[in-house]
Symmetry: C2
Subunit: 420 residues, 2 copies
């Protein structure tokens, strides 16, 4: 099945990695030892840089700039075979993985299928909201937001116009903050001169958070700064405002009913539903796998989990968050355990947190130090360019950012057909 030179005297061990996100891709790259043959399975042909997904959703970047084909990333890793296929079930007893197209066997299994939008058990809200976890989600939001302005320009009923120009973002974490800031700037600056019958600056962006503050992982000063800055650029921030109901064209949050077609759900994620097919493996409420300290599954030392579908309090007592650096570290850790056979426990190395709040402002936190404003924003740009996969994507994204900074334009305001 592959042309890699085998080690003398035996077939290579088969490592099956499910998911080509940060965890799975990193793990595949680190397993360059020819003792192993690695198969990486992903439902898409690309690795997606999720932290910039909100910029695709708000027409700043195009889809291809934050995605890179897994095959081309792994072209020089001759012991890695990439398969585009969708995992449907894992049978730990038979050591097989069922996909839509085939049955795969493994000696070592790495489950890194990531997370999807979660509704805390209120899945009936899903049809009325937009999640933001995939390129598909981002394209969906981009199309619906741009279409809302088009429909408003053509509408004759003021109530209809107002509803079309109202957008709600649920969830005050980094994604919600970034989405709402970017939507407000889109309406109030980018589109300002482009319409004749409506005034896009009259669009209303609401950010709804159930808890008492935005970005709860940050210090009090930074969360207050975030809220004030969002309000400055025109976002209505609602705190202590849990969502009670979502339906077609409205959301009820706290005591308020907001009429809107565009309701973006950034309030929570849960593990890939494939984890529910793991018989006898302990999961948390969000479907995340409760792994052993070395990231293997209890009772299955040859099976590991990494990334957003892991629930773990690490060896230092730190709850590992669902962020890119943790996923990368887990992928590296598992590759090390598989290669060396040494079952060292994983320890999360906190590289800090950051979030943008529209153009020119961000908050960041590193090792107890707080940064905010323009300098934090430059740090954010730099770190995101650094983590983006592919030099060409880095150059293209950098170009677009410089261009947008000086012109306030966005380069991806293209409505694509729904059926394509």
């Amino acid at each position: 099945m592959n042309s890699t030179a085998l080690p003398a005297g035996g077939r290579p061990e088969e490592v099956l990695i499910l998911g080509g996100g940060f965890a799975g891709l990193t793990c595949a790259k680190e397993l360059s030892d020819p003792r192993f043959h690695v198969t990486l399975v992903d439902r898409w042909n690309h690795h997606l840089f999720q932290p910039l997904l909100y910029q695709v959703a708000t027409a700043g970047l195009s889809t291809t700039e934050i995605a890179q084909p897994l095959r081309s990333i792994l072209a020089d890793h001759k012991n890695v075979t990439t398969l585009m296929d969708e995992v449907t079930q894992i049978d730990l007893e038979k050591k097989t993985v069922l996909t839509k197209e085939r049955t795969l066997v493994y000696d070592h299994l790495v489950i890194a299928l990531g997370a999807k939008t979660g509704f805390f058990g209120r899945n009936e809200w899903e049809p009325f909201t937009f999640g933001l976890k995939s390129l598909e989600d981002a394209m969906h939001i981009r199309r619906e937001v741009l279409l809302a302005f088009e429909k408003a320009e053509a509408a004759n009923d003021p109530a209809e116009t107002a509803r079309l120009l109202t957008m709600v973002v649920v969830g005050g974490g980094p994604t919600g903050v970034e989405m709402s800031g970017s939507l407000a700037e889109l309406a109030k600056v980018v589109l300002r001169d482009d319409f004749r019958r409506i005034d896009p600056t009259q669009a209303h962006v609401h950010l709804i958070e159930a808890g008492p503050k935005l970005l709860p992982m940050f210090s009090e000063g930074l969360t207050r700064y975030t809220r004030e800055h969002l309000e400055d650029i025109g976002v209505s921030v609602h705190l202590n405002c849990p969502v009670k109901e979502v339906g077609k064209g409205y959301v009820i949050a706290g005591e308020q009913r907001i009429e809107a077609d565009i309701i973006i759900w950034a309030a929570g994620v849960e593990a890939s539903p494939v984890t529910r097919t793991l018989a006898g493996v302990p999961l948390d409420r969000g479907g995340r796998i409760q792994v052993q300290p070395d990231l293997s599954l209890p009772g299955y030392p040859q099976v590991y989990a990494a990334g957003d579908l892991v629930s773990l309090t690490d060896v230092k007592g730190v709850r590992v968050p669902g962020v890119c650096p943790a996923a990368i570290q887990m992928g590296q850790h598992i590759a090390k355990v598989i290669t060396k056979g040494d079952r060292i426990p994983y320890a999360y190395w906190d590289k800090g947190s950051m979030a943008t709040i529209g153009r020119k402002a961000a908050v960041a936190m590193f090792k107890g130090m707080n940064f905010r404003g323009f300098f934090a924003w430059l740090m954010w740009l730099f770190v995101h360019l650094l983590f983006l996969v592919g030099m060409r994507n880095r150059a293209a994204v950098f170009l677009h950012w410089v261009w947008s900074y000086f012109t306030w334009q966005r380069g991806a305001r293209i409505i694509m057909p729904r059926q394509q």
Copy 2:
């Protein structure tokens, strides 16, 4: 309906432009006289740079780089209102245009709805082929081509693999030449190292032409050069080979039956079907409107047609071709006739022709001078960057071209979902 200052003593005359391609957009831009209120209707929100569509279809460029929102192009033209809507019928007697959403009235009408893929009456072939006229078409080809390689990597039957890796392009005009060259380079160079079970260089690209030569508008020397260069980069060129039948997974051309899922139809276009709703207006076989010398419709001096849906032998006896420069010139001409009221006849100004044949080679013809090879290719790049709308798109496309030239990589190899 608009906020433009009216001329003293009257309402502005309503100019309705159907279609935001080169003809319609140019006409809208040139009608800056405040005596006129202009409404530009397009089914999409963007102007599309069709000459680079084949690069989107073959994963070299992303959709947003060759498209620009009509609204933002026209942001400073305050007397122009843009509407995203689809024209369904034109009633010349009632001076109204029906769209999916509304009825529009006009004083002056400009029909510039362009062309679509044409099958010379064999519309039953359409479901088995891919056209290349819209962003949707290009995305469709991109997805199916990339998926074919993915499926081939997973296939176990050699005949199946061979069929998946066979691609047919029908039509030896510029689009067919550019598509087949770009597909051959994709398979034979770009994807070379990315697969483990298949050898992408074994992919087979066929270019089928009914007539005796490729690019018939060029000189004998250039058409021969084109054919030889295409064969050098691995395209099988079939001349004098009319298509007799197309079905699911095969095409019969001349005496040959070729098994392929990917059959790209670049053999002909016909006018937008809306022209068929024009009662009493003379059309040619392709549905093109046979206009008067000043581009107005016979019997309707306030109604004009421009671009690919026009059939005209101009005042100098030259048959006007369906190319961008002609569309731009017609748009300018109509704006002048409407503004000045002076019914001068339109004369086509031939700016020459050019086509690329893969990387580093092109053919070009200007005023009887012929160019080919690397120099012609640089001319092609320069002219296409110049005509591309938007500085940012120019910069991004230039960046991608330079990058691809040195790395042989393509930046848009992303498979997007069909339902999005």
